[in-house]
Structures are given as structure tokens and as C-alpha cells.
């Protein structure tokens, strides 16, 4: 028992590891914010492309489907390897000369955009056809109807599942440690190896937990608000 406490919860190691792990964690925060912004924008674009009507849009729809299938199916760690080690190996202009941080963002964005595209798509499809019809009958074009009528309603509906995916993304920023981004998990590992103690991992875990709990509570709160509103409407 003493050994467990000493190896995982040593107050001394906690204090010493804290600054370096915190430094790494700031990188997680940056990865997270940049990737989340990119994901929000790209996923919406791809979801809209996937819903485009008509035969002319068929190739674009197909591309969007292939993209989501591939990146939803591939483990993030493999995507990280392919991006973080594969792209620099190509020796190409721009593509091969980015920082590890950028490759980390790219890997996270590729995978999470695929998830979030599906979330948006579910939201867009949940807006009743009659809303589109009403918008189009006012003379709005397809894209105007999407922009002013369908997407605003869709986004409101998918905010809880969206935030849920972001909890996943926040945690998965730790995975890009495999391509050598000096984030919290990486720093924790180094500390652990240098000091033969695992407390640094616990420090990193605490940071992640502290970050995700408020988001999770906020999501619960939104879901509760909506349920209350829907109950009020039903009466």
C-alpha cells in the first residue's frame, strides 16, 4: 500500500512534476482550441456538401462519404503516425516542413472532423422538410435556406453531442505524444522515466479531468434545459 502511494501519489513528486507537466498541458490546450475551431468549420462544410441535392453534386457527396468513412474508421494513433512521420518523409515543400504541433493539429482535425460531420448531418436531417419548403417558397435559394433556416436550427439541436465529442478531442490531444509533441503526457513520461515515479502521470490526469468536468456539466445543463423546454411545449 505504501508502495502504491509512494509511486503514484507522492506529494513531493507531485509538486516537482507540476510545473513541467503544466507547461506541457498548455500545449494540449492550444492543440485543443485550434483543432476544435477547425473541426467546427470543416465538419459543417462537409456535412452540407454531403446533403447537396442533384446529380451534379454526386461526386462531391461521394468524396464526403469516403472521407468520413476513412477517418472515422482509422484509429487516431495511426493517423498521427501517418501525418507526423509520413508527411515530413515526403520531402515536399510546405507539407513536409511543418512543426510537430501542426502535424498534431492536422491529425486531430482529420479524425474529429469525420465524427463531427456526422453529428452535424444528424442535426441537419432532423430539421423537418417543411422548414426547407417554407424557406424555398419565400424565394430563398438552397444555400440561403440552409444558412438562415436549416443550419441555425440544426446547430442548436446538436450542441450537446458536439460538446461530448469535444471532451473526447480534449483527451485525445494526449495521443499526439506519439509523434513527439511535448505536451502533458510526453512531459509526464519524461519525468517518470527520470525519477522512477508515476506521480507525474497522475498530475497530467488531474489536469485533463479538471478540464473536462466543467464541459461535461455544461453539456448536462444544456440537455436539461432542452428537456424542460420540450416538456413545457408538450403541455
Amino acid at each position: 500500500m505504501h508502495k502504491v502511494l509512494q509511486d503514484f501519489f507522492s506529494p513531493h513528486n507531485f509538486r516537482v512534476a507540476l510545473p513541467t507537466v503544466w507547461q506541457g498541458f498548455q500545449l494540449n490546450l492550444k492543440l485543443m482550441v485550434v483543432a476544435e475551431i477547425l473541426v467546427l468549420i470543416l465538419a459543417l462544410a462537409i456535412a452540407i456538401v454531403r446533403g447537396l441535392p442533384g446529380r451534379g453534386a454526386a461526386p462531391f457527396r461521394a468524396l464526403a462519404i469516403v472521407y468520413t468513412d476513412v477517418f472515422r474508421g482509422t484509429p487516431l494513433i495511426l493517423v498521427a503516425f501517418l501525418v507526423g512521420f509520413g508527411l515530413p518523409g515526403l520531402n515536399m515543400h510546405v507539407i513536409s516542413t511543418q512543426s510537430r504541433f501542426v502535424y498534431g493539429v492536422v491529425a486531430l482535425t482529420l479524425v474529429y472532423t469525420a465524427y463531427v460531420t456526422e453529428v452535424y448531418r444528424a442535426g441537419i436531417e432532423s430539421v423537418h422538410q417543411s422548414q426547407r419548403m417554407a424557406a424555398r417558397s419565400l424565394g430563398l435559394s438552397y444555400m440561403q435556406a440552409m444558412r438562415y433556416v436549416v443550419v441555425p436550427q440544426a446547430v442548436r439541436r446538436v450542441i450537446p453531442p458536439l460538446l461530448n465529442d469535444f471532451v473526447g478531442l480534449q483527451k485525445d490531444t494526449a495521443l499526439v505524444t506519439v509523434i513527439g509533441v511535448a505536451e502533458a503526457a510526453e512531459q509526464a513520461q519524461q519525468y517518470s522515466q527520470n525519477n522512477y515515479n508515476f506521480t507525474s502521470y497522475v498530475v497530467a490526469a488531474v489536469f485533463f479531468i479538471l478540464l473536462t468536468i466543467p464541459l461535461a456539466r455544461f453539456t448536462d445543463h444544456l440537455i436539461m434545459l432542452r428537456e424542460r423546454r420540450e416538456r413545457a411545449q408538450a403541455t
Partner: protein, 247 residues
């Protein structure tokens, strides 16, 4: 020359033939009522007029423009045709006034302040000026439907299509909506109504068309249709309506 002219129009959904060789002409400032059982093709005919549905055969000319040849600018056409639906279909994420100004600002490119001013006048006219900033779910069905009419009117349409707009309303809310339609008729708005409100149709219509199984079975003045219908099927339908206490 008539404002709307429908010639030999047919429309099927799969194997189900909803409109069969329909002919209809509507003069400017006239009110036409389409009556008939549910599923007789009234709604589909209205939706063909603003190209929410495409006809399979036949020709529709509106305001001198053939709309069924595939070369028409759909959005430009819809700008001059207002449609109001049975289920109101207001935009739930927008306030009443934003519902009314969306079309004018985005489609007709009217300035926001101008659009809001016009919208306030319209809301005043339908008696809902005090609800301008409410959201649709705070309004009664009758109020929502009046807003839907105002939303269509804000586009300054030359033709209004009303698709069973009182069918989803509680009986005590029907009158306020019909009063508004009556007022529109008096201002000379060209309108085509699909309706189950027989006494109202009799009162406002210049012409009544009885549809049965996708065919315009009888077309005549309200007086003739209601007092002296020629077709057996019209008589049968009206007898059932009277039996149900709706006339």
C-alpha cells in the same frame, strides 16, 4: 388574358397518379377555391404552381411566363407567389418580425430598416403588432397562421396560394384567420385556396373547382356548385359535407 393558366397537367408520385389532365384558369383579382376530399390533389396542384412539385406533363403559365419548361428562374418565380401551409411552418428560431423580414431582406434585398417598417405595418394590419418580438411557440395556432400570411405578404406577391390554412386550427381560432383572408380578397389579391371551409368558399370565391381523384370534376360559380351541382360526384361530396355539419 388570365393570370394563371394550367393546361393538361398531370403529376404522379410513383404509381400514384395525383393529378390527371387538369385544366384551370385564374383571372387577376379573382379568388378560386379548390374543394374536394383529402387526397384529391388540391395541395399538389397548389405546389405545382410555385414549383415545389414538378409536373410530369402539361403546361403552366403564370403572369405570361411558362414555368414548366425547365428554363424558369425558380427563385424569381416564387418571389411573386406567396404560399401559406396548413402547418404554418414558421421558423421557430426567429422572432415573429424576423420571420416576416427574412424574405424581403435576403431575397428582395430590401434594407433591414425598411423591411422592419413594412413588417410592423403588416403585423399591425393582422392585429399582432405587440407580438413582433415574440417567438412563434409563444403564439396560438391562429396567431401563428396570421404571421405566416404576413410573412408571405411581405414579399408583395401577385398571387397567394393558401393550402388548407385553417385545417390544423382549433374551431374558435378559424374565424380570425378567415377574416384576414376575406380582407385580402377585398383588396383584390389573386388567390387560390384549397379548403374544407365550405361556407367560407361560398362567400369569397369567384369560382369553385371540385377535385376528385386528381381530376377537376366540376368548375362553376359558388351559387351553381352549392345549389345546383351538375356532377353526381359533386352532389355526393356535398351531401357528405352537409351530413358532417360543415355547410
Amino acid at each position: 388574358m388570365s393570370f394563371v393558366s394550367v393546361r393538361n397537367v398531370s403529376k404522379s408520385f410513383g404509381d400514384n397518379r395525383v393529378l390527371h389532365d387538369v385544366d384551370l384558369t385564374v383571372d387577376e383579382h379573382n379568388v378560386i377555391c379548390l374543394i374536394g376530399a383529402s387526397g384529391s390533389g388540391k395541395s399538389t396542384l397548389l405546389r405545382c404552381l410555385n414549383l415545389l412539385e414538378r409536373v410530369d406533363e402539361g403546361e403552366i403559365v403564370i403572369d405570361g411566363q411558362t414555368i414548366t419548361n425547365g428554363h424558369v428562374d425558380v427563385n424569381a418565380l416564387r418571389r411573386k407567389i406567396g404560399i401559406v401551409f396548413q402547418a404554418y411552418n414558421l421558423f421557430p428560431h426567429m422572432s415573429v418580425i424576423d420571420n416576416v423580414t427574412l424574405g424581403p431582406t435576403k431575397v428582395r434585398r430590401v434594407s433591414r430598416s425598411q423591411a422592419r417598417e413594412t413588417a410592423r405595418e403588416l403585423l399591425e394590419r393582422i392585429g399582432l403588432a405587440d407580438k413582433a418580438d415574440e417567438f412563434p411557440d409563444r403564439l396560438s395556432g391562429g396567431q401563428q397562421q396570421r404571421v405566416a400570411i404576413a410573412r408571405a405578404l411581405a414579399m408583395e406577391p401577385k398571387l397567394m396560394l393558401l393550402d388548407e390554412i385553417t385545417s390544423a386550427l382549433d374551431p374558435q381560432l378559424v374565424a380570425e384567420v378567415l377574416a384576414l383572408v376575406r380582407e385580402l380578397a377585398q383588396t383584390g389579391m389573386t388567390m387560390i385556396l384549397a379548403t374544407h371551409e365550405m361556407s367560407f368558399a361560398r362567400e369569397v370565391a369567384d369560382k369553385i373547382c371540385f377535385l376528385d381523384a386528381g381530376v377537376i370534376c366540376e368548375e362553376a360559380s359558388p351559387e351553381e356548385i352549392f345549389t345546383n351541382p351538375r356532377e353526381p360526384r359533386t352532389r355526393e361530396f356535398l351531401a357528405r359535407v352537409i351530413e358532417a355539419g360543415r355547410l
